[in-house]
Symmetry: C2
C-alpha cells in the first residue's frame, strides 16, 4: 500500500470523460458512514458505473493514477470495509446502477445477478419463478450481491444452504489492472484451474471487484414449520438440534439461539414488537424446517419437540399455527440487532465456535466480564446451528456505554482471545473490514498471513483495491 | 518452472538423514503408472513421511536443492497429476503413511483425517459413529483424502452434498517453503482473510501440500430408496429430475444417467455383472433418495415415479425392494468405467454442461463424431444432476482403438470445443493434471490464467510443487 496518491482533479476529469458526467458525484454522507457509526470515511468522488466495462475502465484509470478504489455495494457492512478512514484520498466505486438480473434459468437452476442487485430483489425474482434463493439476513432489504459476495455473508440459512460462497457457481470480476474475468459458470463441477471465485469471494474487494455472479436456485419448500422453544442452556439447545435432526434430517433450515436478555432489550427498546408468551428458561430457540409437501415437516417437527419436552430437553415449545404467528417469532429474532443498537453495546462480537466448546466459552466469557464489572450485561444470540454467535456486551442497567470507553479494547481482546483459544473464529460472518485488521495479524496462522500478503502483492501490486481493508500492511 | 535440477544423491542423503532410512525408497512401478496407462512417470525416489513435520522438512530440503516434488496419494487420478513425465528428475512424496483419523467429534460434526486416509476408511469411521461422510466415487477403496482434496473430486453425491471442497471445513498444509499452515477449522462460518483452503483445494498440489483436513459429517439417512428408471432421452431425464424434486425436495442424493451403450459394454466385457430387466428406451437413470424415517422417502419416490410413468416421462421404473436389488442397480453403474477400460476408448471426456445445453451437446457431438467415422460408438454416462457427463468415444464394433490413434486428438478437441462453446467445463471432476494443461491455456479465461500464473509465482516461485501439472508454464 505504498505509492498511492490522493485522487486529484485530473483523474476525476478522466473518469468523467470515460464514464459520463452523471457517473461521477461528490460523496454524499451515506457513502462515508456505516451502520454503527464507528468509522468516518473520506473520498474524492463516488463513481457510478453502469456496466462491467465501465468498472474496468475506471479501474484502469485509477491504476494508472495510483489512486485507491473503495468498493461500495449496499453500505450495510458492520466492520468498515466500505469506507476509507485513512491514507491518500480514494474514490468510492458504487455498484448501485448495476442492478440487472441478466438471466434466470429454471433448467440450470441459476440466476445471474449484477453486483448492485439488492438481495431482497434477488429473493423475489427467485420466488416469482417458483424457486428459492436462500441467503437471508437482517439487511436483505438494502445489502447488495457484490457486497454479500465480497464479505461472504452468512445469515440465518447457513445451516442448510451454506454461506454466500456456497450459493455462487461463478463470478465476473475486474482485477486490479482492469482485466475482466468472465466466469459466470452454470455448472456444479468445474476444476479448470485455481478457484479464483473462492479467492475473490470473502476478500472484501481487496483482490478484485465482483461485478456479477451466477447464483444457485433451490426448490422452494412447499411446507414450512416453525417453532419457538424455551431451553435452559445452549448445551440443551445443541442437544435439541441433534434430536430434531434425527426427526427432520436435512430439512432444518434455521436454528437461532437467543438469550432472554435479548427479549428484554426488545421489550425495552422496541415495545411495539409483540413477544411470544414467557417461559421458565433463560434461552430461546427459533427453529424452522421446510421441505416438499409429502415430507410432513410439521408432523416431524411436532414429534421431535414432543420427544424434547418428554426428556426435559425443552422447557416449553410453541409451533406456529399461522403465518402471523410465524411472523411474531421471526419478528423478535429480527428485532434484536436493532434493540441492541438502541440500548448501545460496549463491544459487539461476531464469533463462531466449534459447538463442542460453546458452553465453555460462555462460562469463561462470563467470568472474564465479571472481572471487568459485575453488572455488565451480555446479549448472546445467533445462528447456533453454525456455532455463530453474536456475543454483545452492554453496560450495567441504567449506565451509558460512554463510561466504558476505557475498557472497550480490553473487553474485545479478552473475548476474541478466548474464542480463538477455543478454536473459534473472530470474524464469522461480517468480515474483517478495517475494524479487525489488527485481529487478523494477532490471530491468523502466520503462514497463512504471509501467503495472503504474497497473493495481495501478486494480484494488486500497487494496492489500489480497497486500501486499508483486510490487510493493513503487506 | 525454470531452474529446477534433478534430484541427486546429496539431496537423497539429506532426506534419508532427516526422515529416516525407511522413509526413502526407490520408486516402485506403481508410483510411475496411472490407471489408464497413458503416462509413464520418472522419479529419483519415493518419500514416505509419517507426519506433517516430516513433510515440511522434506519440502524445505527439496526447496533448498531446487528439486521438484510430485505429491502422491491414492494414485487413482486419471489425468496424470500424480506422476512426472518430463523435466528434471523429481522425488515423489507419498502420504500413504499418514493415515490417522485424528479426531471424530459428533457435537461438532467433524472428522479430522490425515492426507493418507483412504476414502473408504473415512466413510467407515463416520458410519461407525452413526454419521455419513457423503463423498463417494468409483475409486473410494484406494483414493486418499489428500488427493481427493487436491483434485476437488466429485462423484455421485455432489447433487446433494457438493464437491470435496464443500465437505471440507479446514486444512493443514505445507507451502512451498516448508511453512505449515494449521487451519483445521471446525466452524462453518469463518471469514478471517483470504480463503486459502479453497485456493489449495483443487490446485492439484501445485500451490501447497494438504496434509490433513477437517471434514464435515452429516446425519446418516435412516431410510434410503433407490430406483432404476428407463427414459427416452437426457431431456426426459432432466424433466424426471424436476418431477422428483417436487416430491422429494432435497432428499435426492444421486441421479446418475447411463446410455444403453454402457449396459451393452458391461454385458460384453463383464458378463458376470447382473443387469436389471431390459426396457424399451435408450437411457437409464439410477436415482437414490435418503432422509430420516418420518420423511417417507420410499413413498415419495414411488409417488414421483408414478407421476413420471403416467405422463410418459419414464418408460419403465423399478424401485429396489431389497438391499440386494439396490446392489444390482449400483453394480451396473459402478461396472461401467471398468467395462469402458476393457472395451478401450479412443477418447474419454470428463465434462460438465449447463443442464439446459445438454440435449444440444449430445446432438451436435453425435454429428461431429459421425463426421469422423459413422461407426464410432459413444458411451455417455454420468452425474446428470450436476450436468457432469463422461462422454467416452469408442471405435466401431470389432475394431481396436489403435486404428484411431491418428484422429484421437481431433476428436478430443472437437468435443472439448463444443462443451466449452456451450458454457461447459472440460475438467469437471478429474482435474487437469498433466493431460489437460494445453486445454487450460486454450479454454481458460485469459485474465484468470494470468491471475493463476501470478499466484503460482507468488506461492511457489521456484516451482518445486508438482512441476508440470495444471500450469505448463507461468
Amino acid at each position: 500500500m505504498t505509492g498511492l496518491v490522493p485522487a486529484g482533479p485530473d483523474l476525476l476529469d478522466r473518469l468523467r470523460s470515460a464514464l459520463g458526467p452523471e457517473a461521477l458525484r461528490p460523496p454524499e454522507p451515506r457513502y462515508l458512514e456505516e451502520p454503527r457509526g464507528r468509522f468516518a470515511g473520506a473520498a474524492a468522488a463516488v463513481l457510478l458505473p453502469r456496466s462491467t466495462a465501465e468498472v474496468a475502465e475506471a479501474v484502469r484509470l485509477c491504476a494508472a493514477a495510483r489512486v485507491g478504489i473503495v468498493p461500495y455495494a449496499g453500505g450495510t457492512g458492520l466492520v468498515g470495509g466500505q469506507l476509507a478512514t485513512a491514507g491518500p484520498l480514494p474514490v468510492v466505486l458504487s455498484v448501485e446502477r448495476m442492478t440487472r438480473i441478466r438471466d434466470l434459468d429454471l433448467v440450470d437452476g441459476v440466476l445471474i445477478a449484477e453486483a448492485g442487485c439488492v438481495l431482497a430483489d434477488v429473493q423475489a425474482a427467485a420466488r416469482a419463478a417458483g424457486r428459492l434463493f436462500p441467503l437471508s439476513l437482517a439487511s436483505e432489504g438494502s445489502a447488495r450481491i457484490g457486497g454479500l459476495l465480497a464479505t461472504n455473508a452468512g445469515g440465518i440459512t447457513v445451516l442448510r444452504y451454506g454461506n454466500t460462497r456456497d450459493l455462487c457457481l461463478g463470478i465476473e470480476a475486474v482485477l486490479a489492472d482492469g482485466t475482466v474475468i468472465e466466469e459466470l459458470r452454470r455448472v456444479r463441477k468445474d476444476n479448470m484451474g485455481y478457484d479464483l471465485r473462492h479467492l475473490l469471494i470473502g476478500s472484501e474487494g481487496t483482490l478484485g471487484l465482483i461485478t456479477a455472479a451466477s447464483l444457485r436456485l433451490f426448490p422452494a419448500p412447499a411446507e414450512t414449520a416453525t417453532a419457538w422453544v424455551a431451553v435452559t442452556s445452549p448445551t440443551a439447545a445443541l442437544d435439541l438440534l441433534a434430536t430434531l435432526r434425527e426427526e427432520l434430517g436435512a430439512a432444518i433450515s434455521a436454528f437461532e439461539l437467543m438469550h432472554v436478555q435479548g427479549l428484554a432489550f426488545v421489550a425495552e427498546a422496541l415495545p411495539q414488537v409483540p413477544l411470544p408468551p414467557d417461559a421458565p428458561a433463560d434461552w430461546r430457540v427459533l427453529v424452522e424446517a421446510g421441505d416438499a409437501a409429502g415430507a410432513h415437516v410439521g408432523d416431524r417437527l411436532e414429534a421431535g419437540l414432543g420427544r424434547a419436552l418428554d426428556s426435559g430437553l425443552a422447557a416449553d415449545a410453541l409451533i406456529a399455527q399461522s403465518e402471523a404467528q410465524r411472523a411474531v417469532f421471526w419478528g423478535v429474532r429480527e428485532a434484536i440487532p436493532e434493540a441492541n443498537r438502541r440500548i448501545g453495546a460496549i463491544s459487539s462480537h461476531d464469533i463462531a465456535l466449534p459447538p463442542s466448546r460453546l458452553a465453555e466459552f460462555l462460562a469463561r466469557g462470563g467470568a472474564l466480564l465479571a472481572g471487568v464489572d459485575a453488572g455488565l450485561r451480555v446479549n448472546c444470540f445467533g445462528h447456533l446451528g453454525d456455532g455463530n454467535l453474536h456475543y454483545n456486551v452492554f453496560p450495567p442497567a441504567g449506565q451509558g456505554r460512554a463510561a466504558f470507553d476505557a475498557v472497550r479494547g480490553a473487553v474485545t481482546e479478552a473475548v476474541h482471545d478466548l474464542a480463538h483459544a477455543l478454536g473459534g473464529s473472530i470474524a464469522a460472518e461480517h468480515g474483517l473490514g478495517r475494524l479487525k485488521t489488527a485481529d487478523l495479524e494477532r490471530y491468523a496462522d502466520p503462514g497463512k498471513l504471509a501467503a495472503m500478503r504474497a497473493i495481495k502483492r501478486a494480484l494488486d501490486p500497487a494496492g489500489i483495491l480497497n486500501p486499508g481493508a483486510v490487510l493493513a500492511r503487506w
